[in-house]
């Protein structure tokens, strides 16, 4: 029998790796991929909770997280393309012309 804690720790490790990537990479597209990684890390823990607490709510929540992730990816990538048309770079430290 695998204890629940192992899943939670796996999820925490994946989340931290995603967080490091999101905070430190320069490439905007890879930052988005790291965001997906963080969402997936949370999904792992939700499914594990759902299994161990014998409740279906965790799986339903994962379903909604996937929906939100799809919406977020569509909008985010559209923003990247719209920005790239005006200013051909996707390095976040060079995207700084939005000063008010």
């Amino acid at each position: 029998m695998v204890p629940l804690n192992w899943y939670i720790i796996l999820s925490a490790v994946m989340f931290s790796i995603g967080m490091f990537g999101f905070l430190s990479r320069r490439n905007l597209v890879i930052m988005f991929i790291c965001l997906e990684l963080m969402l997936n890390a949370v999904n792992v823990s939700l499914v594990a909770f759902s299994h161990y607490l014998q409740s279906i709510n965790g799986q339903i929540l994962v379903f909604f997280v996937i929906t939100v992730a799809a919406a977020e990816a569509a909008i985010g990538l559209a923003i990247i393309i719209a920005y790239y048309k005006n200013n051909p770079t996707i390095k976040v430290d060079e995207i700084n012309i939005l000063k008010g």
């Binding site: 804690n5 790796i17 990247i80």
Partner: protein
């Protein structure tokens, strides 16, 4: 070591290694590919946790739609020049320390979780008797009907938003 623990051990080590590869690749296409491998492993873990519907959805939605969208965008942008430069921003040591500290805090708290004595009604036998698809469908269309409808509106908003953002401006 039981068979289950070996199974979990394989998935946990592979998923950690693949997550590191996703974050560290220079070429975004390679990142996306490792992410694809990660999704397959996650689907395997979901099957292990009796969530077969979510395992299928994970592959169909994430691997089949979202990651293809990422690949499509990466191929539309011309990133040859950027691949030669340093891949991290200059504050990367700070973010590394932050992430490690965050992990330490999370593990020290979450490692102490114990399963509550009162369990829900959806035991493994019950889900197996009914089928994962049927169980989730029943709950989704009764108890969670309103959130489900809101999610569909959210997707509609995302579609309209993406079209408005990405289309050529009409002067």
């Amino acid at each position: 070591m039981t068979l289950q623990q070996i199974y979990f051990g394989y998935f946990a080590t592979m998923m950690t290694i693949i997550s590191l590869l996703v974050v560290s690749r220079k070429n975004p296409v390679h990142s996306v590919l490792w992410m694809l491998v990660l999704f397959v492993h996650m689907a395997g873990l979901y099957l292990f946790l009796n969530a077969e519907f979510l395992a299928a959805v994970q592959i169909i939605v994430y691997a089949g739609a979202i990651m293809v969208l990422f690949l499509f965008v990466i191929m539309l942008l011309n990133l040859r020049k950027e691949e030669k430069e340093f891949r991290l921003q200059k504050q990367w040591p700070v973010s590394a320390v932050t992430a490690v500290l965050f992990l330490v805090v999370l593990v020290s708290i979450l490692g102490k979780i114990t399963v509550l004595p009162e369990l829900g009604e959806y035991s493994i036998d019950m889900i197996n008797a009914q089928g994962s698809l049927m169980t989730i469908g029943n709950v989704l269309y009764t108890k969670y009907l309103l959130p489900f409808e809101i999610a569909s509106v959210l997707l509609l908003v995302a579609i309209v938003g993406a079209v408005v953002l990405a289309k050529k401006r009409i002067e």
